[in-house]
Symmetry: C2
Subunit: 357 residues, 2 copies
């Protein structure tokens, strides 16, 4: 199967080879060294300020979203949440569940954040800002510079969920004064799903240290303490952590984060230029390189997903809920090539010939 | 490396082959079908009563321990916890953290539970019982029949953490009236670490339904609801779930749970018979088939671990904390053979010749 979803995505040969090896015992100096190296590489890729830290959580991106909400905020905070889709809504639910005072900026679907919207929230006593910088559910990539500027001016603690944006779009902790970045193994890192990663600025580490977390599994203080010696508090997804380490090294060997983003952008641009004659509308007003959200004007999105899967051996990413019939997404992350794009375009053109779209 | 730890353990060729394949997209009928089959197979292996359910959690065994404490108990409960080692202590900490009233039965290290101990807790208003049936940290396998009988008599809700015992020792939910069983991917299931599994009796499902869980990631109500259609609320460790499915099918093809336990027992018995002339003492008074805990009488346990790793290419399982120097463990789960045992014994005999033990 050719995989254009937004995760799990396709992995390269090196990562898959590691998947075929025996999983090593991990309470060893060898594994500690590997983890310490991964932490350093992650920090470099994010241009994290000195004394930043990373925690590797065995769990989905939501596990890390919840860990961040529980560990860096308290009931004394007042958080602004960008809510323009399913993942923004998840941050709202998490703040509600953990009794963190918040207000949500409810954006129209497919719309970017704008200066005049943010202006309404100035000098209102907010202490933090939560944003899924790429709202994966609708493919809207929010204006990070604008958000960062707003947070700087209002002295807000900035948490950026970059699960599907890291390595596809620029995420620079130092440049944009980001305090926390969240990402996952199965997006542009192109490893199997099962691990999410949290990068914390020194200010974020301080918040974690001062806070008390009412979860053992999601306690970042414990994770950071064990991480000092390259270990995790509980048995992690060892194989995936080794795969992540290999990928991080590979990204540096291939020229670093800039080259990686360029590669994803090239696949995205090529795809977008090839769909001009197809009966699809790009829905988002601000695109990430990671994904193209498409509204099919002549057929049901769900039908297109099933036909591509069952008749052409290609996965695209379906939407659920209210967008089930009207929206599908094509991912540009993972081990994809221009030739893969061509195969998808050919399949879509064949469907057009068959009057299926 | 030859791996005699208690997890991650060695996987067979089939499981490793799956690890080398591309991870499929999972919001599909195909993956749902696989998950529903896994749930059925797990229930059969545990002889779970009708209408039992299973939840597959992407996370370590501790994630599932915490999920169970949070989802099946409330502050109206009063729980008895068997605390004879590190994992019993973890249940104590979890109940403390989540404000579940409890009392801990603090057992002497290496000792099994006994009738006269349990007797002291009769008619004291307890509602539930928590036990790591195989206290992995010290290798003590508690008497499940005794515990089960006590729970039946006192009408206690019985939670059995069988993380390292499932498929190594008998764990029969119907026979022993067990309400919840916890296990993990990286023990006798012999898949990579990253997934833990919770089996729930109808009574346990009812408790979950009636309870409110203050965690999104560990909310079993949500997990069970998604599980009805063979899905998970969040992106799971898809590859490991496929590996688990393959192993579950394989266990049935090879004669079922009895044959699997027999295989582990055979490896364990063979090892125990071969160490008679070595300067080791078996410390536990009640052994699981999964592991043999050994006290070396002539050398440091930690030194033995390092020498076997660095000079013989063999991992045994070291202990931490107070037992660092005095205890190591040899696992009998995973893709091990009698020939592997022979290799370990030869290495130990060679160390004896070299006066290292």
């Amino acid at each position: 199967m050719l995989n254009f979803t937004i995760g799990p995505v396709m992995s390269n040969d090196k990562v898959r080879e590691i998947g075929s090896e025996q999983v090593p015992y991990f309470r060893t100096p060898e594994f500690s060294e590997l983890m310490l190296e991964s932490e350093e590489l992650m920090k470099k890729l994010l241009n994290a300020p000195e004394n930043s830290r990373c925690a590797f959580i065995t769990g989905s991106g939501t596990a890390s979203m919840e860990a961040v909400v529980m560990n860096v905020f308290t009931s004394d905070d007042k958080i602004l949440i960008v809510n323009g889709g399913g993942f923004g809504e998840r941050f709202v639910e998490l703040c509600k569940l953990h009794e963190i005072p918040y207000e949500s900026i409810d954006l129209e679907v497919n719309k970017d954040i704008a200066e005049d919207i943010l202006k309404q929230y100035e000098n209102k006593g907010f202490t933090g800002f939560l944003v899924n910088i790429h709202e994966t559910s609708t493919g809207v990539h929010y204006n990070l510079d604008l958000i960062s500027e707003f947070c700087r001016k209002n002295n807000l603690f900035l948490v950026v969920d970059a699960i599907s944006s890291f390595l596809a779009d620029e995420v620079d902790m130092s440049k944009n004064d980001i305090d926390v970045v969240i990402t996952g193994s199965q997006k542009a890192l192109a490893c199997p799903p099962g691990v999410s990663i949290i990068a914390l600025s020194p200010k974020a580490v301080e918040r974690v240290e001062e806070n008390t977390c009412k979860s053992m599994y999601l306690d970042l203080k414990n994770a950071l303490k064990n991480g000092e010696r390259g270990q995790t508090p509980f048995t992690p997804a060892v194989a995936i952590l080794i795969q992540i380490n290999a990928r991080l090294n590979e990204i540096f060997d291939n020229g670093g984060v800039g080259s990686e983003i360029e590669k994803v952008a090239e696949i995205a641009d090529n795809f977008r230029s090839q769909i001009k004659d197809l009966p699809f509308e790009i829905t988002s007003e601000s695109l990430s390189n990671a994904v193209t959200p498409l509204h099919p004007t002549t057929a049901s999105a769900e039908d297109i997903f099933h036909i591509l899967k069952d008749e052409y051996g290609i996965w695209i990413c379906p939407n659920g809920g209210e967008f089930k019939d009207t929206l599908f997404r094509v991912g540009h992350i993972g081990d994809l090539t221009i030739e893969d794009n061509n195969r998808l375009i050919e399949a879509l053109k064949d469907m057009q010939k068959r009057n299926l779209i």
